[in-house]
Symmetry: C2
Subunit: 203 residues, 2 copies
């Protein structure tokens, strides 16, 4: 198999961190997203939605969508589990993962895509008013998360999970999105520092 | 256990259809979303994000997020599987489910929330320009889906899955969102009619 990667964008990064946490090595094909290579025919032939990452299996079967690729590896290599084992744990990780995706990452991405000059060709048309509205929505959810993290070590409970990976990439993505994580969100900031200290964070 | 339900909104509907497809009966507590009951203390005490549906287990543990609730029931009652069984099938269903959520349902919801007068109190502030931009994005993805459905019966392959449930609720939601499904998307329209003919669609 081979993984068509996309550098520092959140979704390609999510898969690389997931693989690092699992200790899985997959041959990587680098794709330069800044040069719009993900919109070229080589990727479009594999993913008509022209997005990365793309996993090509040895028999030519294609998997796209970062979380779907993660689930494939979770099923093949269940240990350590990053999506949970019991019914309740699976559901709690899914619940927190969706909260993070819909209430944090989505707002940060919208601010980045609708306000950053480099996104003009990607997000057509940019709506700066919409980008600005998303910034305080992201901060509101960070406040909620800061309260939650006062009582536990990881997003979805006492174990590291995919919800932590998505939270780490979301919080890191505040920088290009130009959203400040307020100084007084101390639990969130300490959590972020703990996640960045994991070897997987540089994957 | 009991399920705090929310009527015809897409997420509460997704869980009811899922339960109907599985043949599972859960005691329902109706919550009137039109009267904003989901923002009242009764729900906020269970889900600080004040959204429905909410599943309360017998020991008081709370699960929110419709897909997380569905995963809980999938793990408890695996047959018929609606999230897939093999690693590849699980990944393909997740891939299609995410494509449908991010490229279809999200655009339809954005059009509804930013343009419909009844949403003024829900989506603060409404950005009509953003609502309008989402309409052709939803139709673009429908065109892609119409091509895909020329060659198979269900969204993620040869079996009915959660991806079909989300597609059905998304296509039904085009009506309040005032997005027309073009007449010449014949495969998509035939698929939609097949899904609506399933007994679960009225759940």
């Amino acid at each position: 198999m081979k993984l068509f990667d996309g550098g520092m964008a959140p979704n390609p990064r999510r898969v690389r961190i997931f693989l690092a946490e699992k200790g899985i090595e997959v041959p990587i094909v680098p794709v330069n997203m800044a040069a719009m290579e993900h919109r070229a025919d080589d990727i479009a032939a594999r993913n008509p939605l022209r997005a990365l990452p793309v996993l090509e299996l040895d028999d030519g079967v294609i998997l796209t969508e970062s979380v779907a690729i993660c689930r494939y590896f979770e099923a093949l290599y269940p240990d350590p589990s990053l999506f949970g084992t019991s019914a309740l744990e699976q559901a709690q990780i899914e619940m927190w993962h969706r909260r993070i995706e819909l209430k944090l990452l989505a707002h940060i991405q919208a601010a980045f895509r609708h306000l950053h000059p480099a996104m003009k060709e990607w997000e057509v048309p940019q709506v700066p008013e919409w980008g600005e509205i998303n910034k305080p929505k992201a901060v509101d959810f960070m406040r909620f998360l800061d309260g939650e993290l006062a009582t536990r070590s990881y997003i979805a409970g006492e174990n590291f999970s995919i919800a932590d990976i998505t939270t780490m990439i979301a919080l890191d993505f505040t920088k290009p999105a130009r959203i400040a994580i307020p100084d007084d969100f101390e639990h969130l900031r300490a959590y972020h520092a703990r996640m960045k200290a994991r070897p997987s964070s540089s994957a």
